[in-house]
């Protein structure tokens, strides 16, 4: 710039409106911020979509074919998974054939082993020689593929996920089992939430003697491992959904109560609550208008982590024989049956195991996403 120009500009600036205090970004409420952060988290969003799909499937899945949950028929027991179209893709796992490798001293012996393993249905077994062998012990190896559906003259039948040891359709049982597992988890989490929030809220809000007494009781209860209480309860109650819910809620609310109490204690001494009280707000108003909105985040997060816990415990109890009993299905009982047949019919274990894992992962990721979403530090 020329000196001349500089000279011209050396005059007092016309005072403009000061814009430095203007708020540049639109104002958002905390919940809007939380929602935005949550939906930016791809893992959490994918988990949520997955979970919604699973929940929908748990309702409509059992009705998608004609097989009922308890249609037993031993003649069609242990059928492998078979899905139209996919059955033509040899590696899909839905081809409706059983196959395994068999050993013997010679190829003939290995073949015989294979055929006897597959109910002597020789004409429906394809044999592929993997190793000619040299006559020594178990040196020869063949791969046998058994076309079960043809053997049972059920070419027109499709059991998408196969059948169990009693010939019941696994697809139907899987989704019915999912419904039961989710139902237990949601109810248990909801009841834990109600009791926990009420108990913790009262202890935290009233403080003093009330808090002392309530917390002493809680301290003793928390000292008893939840596993022990759940096991004892399951022994006394008749197995079933209600019993599992009771057993899970008897212990489940303590964690929530502690967290809510701590949070209420912290919040009730904050200046905004003191201000509300100074203005003469009633207890009820203070609790519902000021405290609850401010601790709702932590309650939601805690509930989100309680649900997968409940799913796990249900599966665990059913697995060790204390939970849901057949013919009712839950993910736990399905997995239990699967384990009994893991070596010969691994598909019976694979599908429920994958489903429960996906559900657990989805809930945990949503929980993580919510925790971040309710953390003001994460808002951008």
């Amino acid at each position: 710039m020329e000196n001349k120009e500089i000279k011209d500009l050396l005059v007092p600036m016309k005072q403009k409106e000061d814009t430095s205090e203007k708020i540049s970004s639109p104002s958002r409420t905390f919940l809007q911020d939380a929602r935005r952060t949550f939906f930016k988290n791809k893992l959490a969003v994918v988990s949520m979509i997955t979970l919604v799909l699973i929940i929908i499937m748990s309702f409509v899945g059992p009705g998608m074919n004609d097989h009922g949950i308890d249609d037993q028929d031993l003649s069609r027991a242990k059928l492998p998974a078979r899905v139209p179209v996919l059955e033509n893709i040899s590696w899909s796992g839905f081809t409706g054939v059983l196959s395994d490798e068999f050993q013997g001293d010679t190829v003939e012996q290995a073949t015989t082993n294979a055929i006897s393993r597959y109910s002597n249905q020789e004409e429906f077994i394809d044999i592929e020689v993997l190793d000619e062998g040299d006559g020594s012990r178990n040196s020869a190896e063949v791969k046998a593929t058994y076309h079960v559906y043809e053997a049972k003259d059920m070419q027109d039948q499709y059991y998408w996920l196969g059948t169990d040891t009693l010939g019941r359709d696994q697809w139907t049982r899987l989704w019915d089992g999912t419904t039961v597992s989710l139902l237990i988890a949601f109810i248990a989490a909801a009841i834990s939430l109600l009791i926990g929030v009420a108990y913790g809220g009262i202890a935290g809000y009233y403080g003093g003697k009330v808090d002392d007494v309530l917390m002493r009781i809680l301290e003793v209860l928390v000292g008893i491992p939840n596993l022990v209480i759940i096991l004892l309860m399951m022994l006394v109650l008749d197995p079933g959904i209600t019993s599992i819910v009771i057993a899970l809620t008897i212990t489940g609310w303590t964690g929530m109560a502690r967290i809510v109490r701590g949070e209420v204690m912290k919040q009730k001494n904050q200046e905004y609550v003191l201000a509300a009280r100074t203005l003469g707000q009633s207890n009820w108003k203070v609790i519902t208008k000021h405290l609850l909105p401010n601790i709702s985040g932590i309650i939601i997060i805690n509930t989100m982590f309680n649900i997968p816990d409940a799913i796990f415990f249900e599966a665990f109890l059913s697995f060790i024989g204390l939970g849901i009993t057949p013919p009712d299905a839950s993910l736990g009982t399905l997995i239990n049956t699967g384990f009994d047949n893991i070596m010969l019919y691994p598909y019976m274990l694979v599908f429920p195991a994958i489903l429960i894992s996906v559900i657990m992962i989805a809930f945990n990721l949503i929980g993580d996403g919510l925790r971040d979403a309710f953390d003001p530090k994460m808002h951008k």
Partner: protein, 347 residues
């Protein structure tokens, strides 16, 4: 003789989610042996980032030194690797932090925290290092140093902890001691004690001190020279006398005017309106112009260069241009300057 420390045109930026934040935009100053330089400015003016650059502690990978040199006795610290800086930190340059409550490791005994630096930099064995640590604690005015050595930070009060932090910083007789608002988090009475302690220590050890603060009262008390920072730049630079009796930059006027004094009860404080600019998009021209009622049209177009007021005194404002309209500081600020002149700078 060359200077102890010379900083030339230092620029530091942070790459954030929203873009590049230019925290420091071309800062130059120097420091002599045994001298105290105060860097003054609002929060966010870049003073703390400048000192972390001196320490080689600009947080990576977001923080980047974009340009400039930091010459410690002629050696450029910007070019040093982290390994080499580890040998300089704590030995040649050390630092006292703002919050004594959180700047000590809660699970380590005080003694060990002091000894750590001694063992690292001076190859002392533990027995000698222990002796030296006790001396240091004694020097910073902590009673019963032998017992205190074995205690943990939470057993000390805030002021005592700050003394410990100072002891750690002094452990290896550093050439430069950087104090980043060392008294801000303390009670007023404790502040005075800590300032006195630092002045005493400087007399004994002849360390140079870089004193970061936003409190002009503290500056008048401890500093030899003052650099006023605004929006990542030094806007005025001079001796304490220059800055307090003869400030030239409107921002310095604002800082002086907004400082309450005992005899100012009858008048209003001169407050600087607005808030500091967003360093994501620093304004064109003079960054202070939007808040400056003495702004000239040119401030909106072109950044002012450093104008020389005297050999020791520089300021970056177009008001110092020979053709600029003569402007006087506001009355209240003038009175205050007068007040400083009368008391001779002694608070």
């Amino acid at each position: 003789m060359s200077k102890l420390l010379e900083v030339k045109d230092l620029a530091v930026s942070f790459n954030t989610y929203n873009g590049e934040v230019q925290a420091v935009r071309g800062v130059s100053f120097d420091l002599d042996k045994g001298e105290t330089l105060a860097i003054v400015g609002e929060s966010g003016s870049g003073k703390s980032v400048t000192t972390s650059a001196l320490m080689g502690l600009v947080p990576k990978p977001q923080g980047v030194i974009k340009s400039g040199e930091i010459l410690l006795e002629g050696e450029d610290l910007v070019k040093k690797s982290n390994k080499e800086m580890q040998k300089i930190r704590g030995k040649d340059i050390s630092m006292v932090f703002q919050n004594p409550l959180s700047s000590l490791n809660p699970t380590m005994k005080i003694g060990n925290q002091i000894i750590e630096g001694l063992v690292k930099h001076q190859n002392m064995n533990r027995t000698d290092a222990k002796k030296r640590a006790i001396e240091l604690l004694d020097q910073v005015g902590i009673p019963n140093p032998e017992i205190r050595m074995k205690q943990y930070p939470h057993q000390f009060s805030g002021g005592m902890r700050q003394r410990v932090v100072i002891a750690i910083a002094l452990a290896c007789n550093p050439k430069i001691l950087i104090a980043d608002e060392p008294t801000t988090a303390l009670d007023v009475t404790i502040q005075a004690q800590i300032l006195e302690l630092m002045k005493d220590i400087q007399k004994e050890t002849e360390s140079a001190i870089v004193f970061i603060t936003h409190d002009l009262g503290v500056v008048a008390n401890v500093a030899d020279r003052v650099a006023v920072m605004y929006a990542g730049k030094i806007v005025e630079y001079g001796t304490v006398d220059d800055i307090f009796y003869n400030p030239k930059h409107p921002y310095t006027w604002g800082l002086l005017g907004s400082m309450p004094t005992l005899d100012s009860d009858d008048e209003e404080l001169y407050a600087i309106p607005g808030s500091p600019p967003d360093m994501l998009n620093p304004p064109k021209g003079d960054a202070f112009a939007p808040r400056n009622k003495f702004a000239l049209e040119i401030d909106g177009v072109m950044e002012p260069p450093m104008f020389k007021v005297s050999d020791s005194h520089y300021a970056a404002t177009w008001l110092l241009h020979e053709d600029a309209p003569k402007m006087e500081p506001p009355e209240s600020v003038k009175k205050r300057m007068q007040g400083f002149a009368n008391t001779g700078g002694e608070e």
